[in-house]
Amino acid sequence: MSAVLATQVLVISERSVRRTFRQPAAIIPAIIFPIMLLFVSAGGLQAAEDLPGFPSVSYFDFALAVTFMQGAIFATGGAGTDLATDIETGFLSRLSLTPMSGAALVLGQLGGAISLGVFQATCYLAAGFIGGATIASGVAGVVVIYLLVILMAVGFGAIGIAAALRSGNGEAVQGLFPLLFVLLFLSTINLPLDLIPITWFRWVATGNPITYLVDAVRSLIITGWDGPAILAGFLVAFAIAVLGIIGSAAALRGRLQRT
């Protein structure tokens, strides 16, 4: 990265972070909601621990991984909605009149998404520890969870950015939300894959990328070092990131028509 690009990415990230953290109304739900659902589903589904074949851990530990996924979905909304606002207000035109490169715009916005993702993950982990969770893979595992969270923030953030650049409309970006929640619900968030008896559901969950992301984080929390699960999670997160960035780059060309 050249020095000029690095500066540009830095100042755009800085602004994105400032803006994110100055909108408590936007980030508090992204923190509170997943934690609330964690405690509620851990309470309501605790009985699942008695299912034959359920991992021998508390349901709370099992469910903790889901918060990170919900956090990633909020990252999509945040990065995308903010950029869509910039397009609607004309702020993007203001930036376009400077020598800012398109890459700096996308990377800078992602910087904001990553910061929010890391902050969220810290809150979720803290909630997990307060709720009595233990991380089977230890401190190194926590580091790996953070790496995966960052990669997910990049991937889901880039999807939000691509949607914003393509549509130029905050409502359209928000429209992605339900879609991602459908994907979340049709994955292994509530039970492990082999405890899902309904065939069509198991098929959907097997093909659903979210399953692998949840399972990777979950394995680090409840199993320890499950190589294949971790690898699968990172591969899926990487693939989403690559697709998201390609999508953003393509959408950027359509949006920034400057000569």
């Binding site: 739900p29 609330m36 659902l37 509620v40 589903s41 309470g43 309501g44 589904l45 605790q46 009985a47 699942a48 008695d50 299912l51 034959p52 339900p178 929640f181 459908v182 619900f185 049709l186 509530n190 039970l191 405890l195 899902i196 008896p197 309904i198 069509w200 559901f201 969950a205």
Partner: protein
């Protein structure tokens, strides 16, 4: 009498306008149908192994168990979503015009409430068709099933009254989370996934006093043709109706004074 007729015309006018603007907008209709379906698919499909938990004794099976939850969830939220429409009407000034044009303003409340009922009825029919295809077992007598649906529609009124009370007081769309979150919390602090006997710890204590618990458990009993807190469920909607009715009416009074 003519006063009452006038009132009825106003109720009908508001309900018809509200319903037609709702059903003509796919962006509103689709989520209202798809979200209950999503819950149904995710819970009935993804969690059906829970009926293997020792102590799970709901005879009609897990799909039916979850159908009753989705029935009440979609019905209540159908009511709550009408609060969104009212808030929007306040934001764009339409509600103000209504308040000027309608002599008995309770007609406004009833008109919006009626629209919410119509909307929820459509969702319920849709969910029920899907549930029948998915294979629910109806073991209750016809009378019990009628009671079940009346109970569900009554809980729709509770949702409407709550959300209308908020919409009348704040008159802006930015308070929509306040309409949803309390009901959302109540719903999920009830026995959603397993019968109450299988809950333990803090959530059991909460569920024991959560009014929604009685609705769900009562509704499930009606569906299964067994005994359950059916009378308590009716008490819940009765008392809830009175309390939330006052909440909503005082909200309307507050809106009139603004």
């Amino acid at each position: 009498m003519s006063d009452f007729l006038h009132w009825l015309t106003a109720v009908q006018g508001i309900a018809v306008r509200q319903s037609s603007s709702f059903f003509k907008n796919p962006a509103l209709v689709l989520p209202s149908l798809l979200f209950p379906m999503l819950f149904f698919a995710a819970f009935a499909g993804g969690l059906s192994d829970l009926n293997r938990i020792p102590g799970f004794d709901y005879t009609p099976g897990y799909t039916t168990f979850q159908y009753v939850f989705v029935l009440f969830q979609s019905s209540m939220f159908g009511g709550i979503f009408i609060g969104f429409a009212v808030a929007r009407d306040f934001e764009n000034g339409f509600a103000r015009r209504l308040m000027i044009a309608t002599p008995r303003r309770s007609a406004i409340m009833c008109g919006y409430g009626l629209a919410a009922l119509v909307r929820s009825a459509v969702t319920i029919i849709f969910v029920t068709i899907v549930a029948l295809v998915a294979g629910i077992n109806v073991l209750g007598s016809p009378g019990q099933i009628v009671l079940l649906y009346v109970l569900a529609l009554t809980s729709n009124i509770l949702g409407s009254l709550w959300a209308l009370g908020i919409a009348f007081r704040f008159q802006t769309l930015s308070v929509t989370p306040l309409m949803q979150i309390p009901f959302f919390i109540l719903l999920f602090l009830a026995p959603v996934y397993v019968p109450i006997e299988l809950l333990s710890g803090w959530i059991r204590h909460v569920a024991d006093v959560n009014p929604v618990t009685f609705l769900l458990e009562g509704g499930r009993a009606l569906m299964a043709g067994t005994t359950g807190p059916i009378v308590t469920a009716w008490l819940v909607v009765l008392i809830g109706g009175i309390v939330l009715g006052i909440w909503s009416l005082t909200g309307l009074r507050a809106a009139e004074k603004r």
